[in-house]
Symmetry: C2
Subunit: 205 residues, 2 copies
DNA sequence: TAGGCCATGTAATGTGTTACATGATTAG
DNA sequence: CTAATCATGTAACACATTACATGGCCTA
């Protein structure tokens, strides 16, 4: 399970469940999401397995806080995960599944609306990522190989987002252009004039 | 749940659980994965909700087969899903999480090995996608706007994979180059010479 | 005084994975 | 005769989402 490992990674500095939730909203959300109601039981489980230890402290604001810290076992498990090679092959793209089956609607203008909405979403995401990049470069310079270790790794992850989301925006534009050409030649509904490449055995993504 | 909707999409033609599993291995696997042990109960559930109907038939090879077909309710639900706008915001990238925390190892050569393995994986994936694209173009021409409706949508999904995976390979190369520059200036382990941009509030992906 | 943030959790339900269990037919 | 493919499923467990439940402190 990756959530456990992400929590171990974040807990290299002690934190409460609530703090960790904020870390998700701030930075981690771009590659993983989790709710408090998932974080709390997961922390408890990790403590039972002795990967974390916790103590209750009074809070300056609000109720007592339970602060978790990483144990040696936890640190070992984190390193084991990091050494286990890239965790690939679990990606899921619900919106691609929708597009893949969207011929069922039988009206390409619906596909066009879908792709436009997707493009909007992706391009605002890209704008956010570029803004972060701009801030980081302004603060630390444009040579990430001279950043600190944590900064170097995080900048690399940020760059992947920029590459990947950017390429998807480009794909939306390409696809919208193809849709418009298709609509121009057959403004109503569906079937193009060519053969039906029901390449069901082959795939997208 | 998207698996349910994907099954409804595939069941525009009648099929058995086993057939559907094969559809996953052949085409759907590039944006979703599912095991038989998940498919069978999901089909049963969909039948209970009257979105599918099934009948048992003798099989030419092997045991009897239970063939599922879409009902009107099922078709309606499929269309509802397709009309509900792009399902975004649920993407999870476990390997980015690993990279993000990989400074914990304290040896950049480990990061280099990780990125190399990731690059290998992604570029063989890309090669597969390009091979499919080549076959489709050979069979149906290079103008997808003249494909049939299903083919047009599936080709669009394929193109997203090519854009997206291709951009990730480029990102691996960029990152490996940065790692090598960094290793050249500080061959041992960790800390670069610049500041420590622990931009924990900022993020990747 | 109303709403937001701090801070904790549980319960119910839904979704997904891994392992187990069975057995016929067919191709090598 | 052996392995792959066809074909069905259950059981146990792991993971995730949504809704519920509580309550103090601070700011507008």
């Amino acid at each position: 399970m990756s959530l456990e490992h992400i929590l171990l990674g974040l807990l290299r500095e002690p934190a409460t469940g609530y703090d960790l939730k904020n870390a998700f909203s701030e930075s981690v959300r771009h590659f993983w999401s989790a709710e408090l109601s998932q974080i709390y039981p997961t922390l408890k489980r990790l403590e039972q397995r002795r990967m974390l230890r916790s103590r209750v402290e009074p809070s300056p604001k609000g109720p007592n806080r339970r602060v978790y810290t990483l144990t040696d076992e936890g640190r070992t498990e984190l390193l084991r995960w990091l050494h286990s090679g890239p965790a690939v092959g679990t990606e899921r793209f619900a919106y691609l599944a929708q597009l893949y089956f969207m011929d069922a609607i039988g009206d390409l203008r619906e596909t066009r609306a879908f792709m436009t909405a997707l493009r909007d979403h992706l391009s605002s995401w890209l704008a956010q990522l570029r803004a972060v990049e701009r801030d980081v470069i302004a603060a630390y310079g444009d040579a990430p190989e001279r950043y600190g270790d944590a900064g170097f790794h995080r900048f690399a992850a940020l760059r992947m987002g920029i590459h990947s989301v950017g390429s998807k925006v480009a794909w939306c534009d390409e696809t919208l252009a193809a849709i418009d050409r298709r609509l121009a030649s057959a403004p109503r509904a569906g079937a193009g004039s060519g053969g039906e490449p029901d390449h069901r055995k082959e795939f997208p993504s």
